[in-house]
Symmetry: C2
């Protein structure tokens, strides 16, 4: 099972949209896919019409049960989606308390990694959607994954703090003693504005081949798809936004 | 001094934009204004061209010094802005560690409230920009303020989880035994799409007079203003976005 994390401390940059769109495209290509929601605000969970408040079990329970959680227990936490081959490990608001209650305990950084290893023969891909926070949930996501996707809006202010954040994420992951692989995904690119073009060139100057070779354009179909509670790849398969994500997916699969 | 908090656990909804625009408008009306950045990603700090990584002192130091911080020490943390009468209390990435290190200690919820009381004869207004997280920084902001402004995108997915979040914020504040006053500010309203209109009507149905009587429209000038590192009220004073915020400001000042 290949595990990707989608993360950025800046809010509203398209983390959930990236997770859902890539997940939908992989399921169309007959891969078995698990989407993991680690955001207490539960956007991914709500996206698929799952009422986070009604859930009895969620990612939060993985942290309560700790290292000895059994496969059957994890499977009970999963929710099917309307898409064949695509399941959700949902989030609840209770995750917002994790940093305060468990943050300083040792060994809490590998809970998600352990749980996904238990499930690794059930799925081909797992994609983890992160909250816009550098906390214990992010540490877990980084430890569990082989590559981090960092959506970055193509605007100048979005480039501020990016360098520092990438370094902090590297530190958070370095305790896992493995290669730190990330791909910057320029998103919400608006070809009509000069600011977008300039910011994109600046990104490529600063990060070279760590930046994906293309961009995700601004596309209103993404909002419409979330209103329809369908992955963009199902809702608007021929849209330029989905086409861009399928190019990204091919690029990522070649990189492994 | 009147203190407002701008908060929403959802990312990218316009919290920083709301804080900067209202701050700029108040300074134009010759009010003395302090903008407080409690987001570890430091968007507000970078907006004003302040390099968060070079700062010796920031909001983080208020938590280190604790209740006995002196007025001179707080004044040293402040940064002037290019706008007459508008100062910034900046943020650093170190704030990301607060929940893990101080979250469970008692008495950490009133640090910001105490500090702003010390400064209360220096400013007429203070506006606190929050990270998209329900944590110890949010507890501090809620305790320090008389009203919470909640920017909400006019789209269906943005309405999911809103009820739960407002209730959680009320619980976080109830320990301060004062009235819980919030105003929902519909933002990024796009009059061309039916989804925006429907979501706006849904908001009014659900929350009645807790929703501001108008909306902040989608306006590309906000991104341009942040690129120019000027408050929107300075950069594009006649834009429809700034006009909408000045109507909001008049509404809020009448509500006190
Ligand atoms: N390429 C795009 N073009 C236009 N709109 C987009 C695009 N990508 C995402 N959006 C819209 O932008 C908003 C924010 O996206 P999303 O919720 O995926 O961001 P996020 O980074 O997950 O936010 P959070 O920080 O709250 O987790 C949504 O309304 C989404 O539909
Ligand atoms: N009314 C609007 N119309 C168009 N763009 C807007 C509007 N308000 C904000 N924006 C843009 O949306 C993006 C997100 O805004 P902003 O950074 O203020 O959100 P935020 O809620 O503070 O995000 P975070 O969750 O990261 O703190 C920015 O690029 C900003 O310029
Ligand atoms: Mg999200
Ligand atoms: Mg912000």
């Amino acid at each position: 099972m290949i595990v990707w994390t989608v993360a950025n401390q800046k809010g509203g940059v398209g983390k959930t949209t990236t997770t859902v769109t890539l997940g939908g495209l992989l399921a169309e290509r007959s891969e078995r896919v698990l989407l993991v929601d680690t955001d207490p605000h539960a956007s991914l969970t709500y996206y698929f019409g799952i009422d986070s408040e009604q859930l009895e079990m969620s990612v939060f329970d993985l942290f309560i049960k700790g290292k000895n959680v059994k496969k059957e227990e994890i499977i009970q936490m999963l929710c099917p989606s309307t898409i064949e081959g695509l399941d959700i490990l949902p989030a609840t608001m209770a995750l917002a308390t994790l940093d305060r209650t468990l943050g300083s305990k040792t060994g809490m950084g590998l809970i998600l990694k352990n749980a996904l290893e238990v499930l690794s023969d059930e799925y081909d891909y797992a994609i983890i959607d992160c909250p816009p926070v550098l906390g214990v949930l992010m540490v877990n996501a980084l430890a569990a994954s082989s590559r981090i996707l960092v959506p970055v809006q193509t605007e100048f202010l979005a480039l501020k703090g990016l360098e520092r954040m990438l370094r902090t994420m590297e530190l958070m992951q370095s305790s896992q003693s493995k290669a730190y692989r990330y791909t910057i995904v320029p998103t919400m690119y608006d070809k009509r504005t000069k600011a977008s073009l300039e910011a994109y060139h600046r990104l490529r100057e600063m990060y070279g081949d760590r930046v994906w070779t293309s961009v995700i354009p601004v596309d209103t179909k993404f909002r419409d798809a979330s209103l329809a509670q369908q992955p963009p790849s199902t809702y608007a398969p021929k849209s330029r936004g989905v086409f861009a994500y399928s190019t990204l997916l091919t690029y990522l699969q070649q990189k492994r």
